[in-house]
Symmetry: C2
Subunit: 324 residues, 2 copies
């Protein structure tokens, strides 16, 4: 189990050491990459040697925020640092060799397993970027425009540009300070939140046109077939957060997306609940699991078979939308 | 022409007077309604009599933020105050009788025509709500949770929840202070930014599926026919900001939405430019006008005729996307 470290202790720890390798998590998002990039930038500015372990799943859009820091072959680190990574199960393949040697983890997930020797974790923060901001200002009294840019990426992406339920006053305040420090928020907002690929537009259009409403509009079911993926030209990135769409419709409490994967009988369902309905309960019926508000399951049946079974289960069980 | 008033002078002006009627602008948005509601609430809290003139175009979604303050029949105001309203041309029909009698206007539009006797206008603010926040804190040292809620509505809607290009550090900072004061930002974000009507979903789906790309994908053209409006069940509210969609697509510099109105030859075009292309120049060709980044025109031709003419003009003129 990790020893707990405060922001002040963490800043002092970095100042007293050198030669850091920073790890990010699998399927890297703006928070893990922005936090890692800002930390590397800030440490270099006070003369430290620091690199990020190359994360092979970095999307082209995010590459520019971290490419200056990817490690090259001959660097031998003295200290391994992980950011925004709650467990070694979230390590990319090429980071697994470090799983027992992580000196420090900076994180905001309450579920952090304590795999690092030292843990600087503040679960009340909406993003890891806010914690990195405090470490850097504690360390140097300020953040550079390069760090500010990357921290803005971290905080804004983890809060969906300040619209998700995890958004806090601190996230907004820190973003304001980063803008004052020179983070180009207009350009970043346009790039990160106001641009859709043609594939995304096409698949969203198809999805919008095949939504089925049941139980007085309280349940919405959408499907993504292999054919839709092919016709739209959408790639995996384009459907990443698409299962949130059904519950964004007025009056919908339970949103279900059925996705066809490698064949007609290789499907997964994603269930989202915006109210009291327990999404995990429905998914457990299908051999899956998850949380009350978001759950999923893999099912070896066709879309039509799954839809019929979903409606039967939803209409029958106690406490589900169709029951009295 | 108005005399200019600072925030401090405006706060003092309110404190020394009583019996205010507050006007909001035509097609009222969250900023005008939230600002007016917060101002009325804050003035009532220091013992003033204040009402809002009923704005008949208030949408059901926004009604709850202002319904406590609508004027009833017998109130005779001593002072008329307009908020977020740049000119008398933006007055609702029932406010026109006050057009020469506005004592004070609080606004953030650089284009304010100076129709009020006194003008408290700060064009660097992203929203009128931020100015009202400063007036209320100047007046009372604080804002109540009821005012904070309405000011959050004002600031967040005018910045698209902090994502539009007008977002500033001050907008984010003020929102953070309002959240600390008790504004229920999670519920408000869900209501204002994360909920789509069924009509909106349906019309967006249709629109996504009929986008035409021209000039190497730099120009995107979408149409909204009367038939689409009927089939989707969309109402006017649902298509309010829809002409921003084409320019949100990767690679698109010029987005054009052709909307069929009362008949097949009663159309309007909305042109948006995200780069150097001058949208107003294209619309002037069709007898319309506007700004460099957003312009429009009414055209007595069919959608197909308009589309053909648009492509001809875009392909021919200097500096337009199709030209060398």
């Amino acid at each position: 189990m990790s020893a707990r470290f405060s922001i002040i202790e963490t800043a002092a720890w970095f100042k007293e050491r050198d030669n850091f390798l920073v790890l990010t998590h699998r399927r890297p998002d703006g928070d893990t990459l922005g936090s890692a990039g800002a930390l590397a930038q800030g440490l270099r500015e006070i003369g430290k040697r620091v690199f990020l372990l190359h994360n092979p799943e970095t999307t082209p859009r995010n590459e520019k925020f971290v490419s200056d820091y990817w490690v090259s072959g001959d660097f031998v680190p003295d200290h391994i640092v992980a950011v925004d990574t709650a467990s070694v199960g979230l390590f990319p393949q090429n980071a697994l060799c470090y799983k027992d040697d992580v000196s420090l983890c900076v994180d905001h997930h309450v579920s952090n397993t304590g795999y690092a020797k030292l843990l600087c974790c503040y679960p009340d923060y909406a993003s890891c970027g806010e914690i990195i901001y405090e470490i850097l200002t504690q360390m140097s009294g300020d953040v550079s425009v390069q760090s500010a840019l990357r921290l803005y990426v971290a905080i804004s992406t983890d809060t969906g540009c300040f619209v998700y339920g995890n958004t806090t006053a601190n996230a907004l305040k820190t973003a304001a300070l980063l803008i004052e420090r020179g983070a180009p928020h207009k350009e970043l907002n346009k790039l990160l939140f106001r641009t859709k690929t043609r594939g995304r537009i096409a698949i969203e259009g198809m999805l919008y046109n095949n939504i089925e409403f049941h139980f007085d509009g309280k349940v919405a079911i959408t499907v993504i077939t292999r054919d839709m993926m092919k016709t739209s030209g959408a790639v995996e990135d384009d459907v990443d957060d698409i299962s949130g769409i059904p519950t964004s419709i007025e009056g919908v409490d339970v949103g279900i997306t059925i996705r066809e994967l490698s064949s007609a009988t290789d499907c997964k369902i994603s269930v989202r609940s915006s109210g009291s309905f327990d999404a995990s309960r429905l998914c457990i019926h299908f051999g899956g699991g998850g949380h009350r508000s978001a759950a999923g399951a893999s099912i070896a049946k066709t879309i039509e078979e799954i839809k019929a079974e979903l409606l039967k289960v939803l209409g029958g069980a106690d406490g589900l939308p169709g029951s009295p």
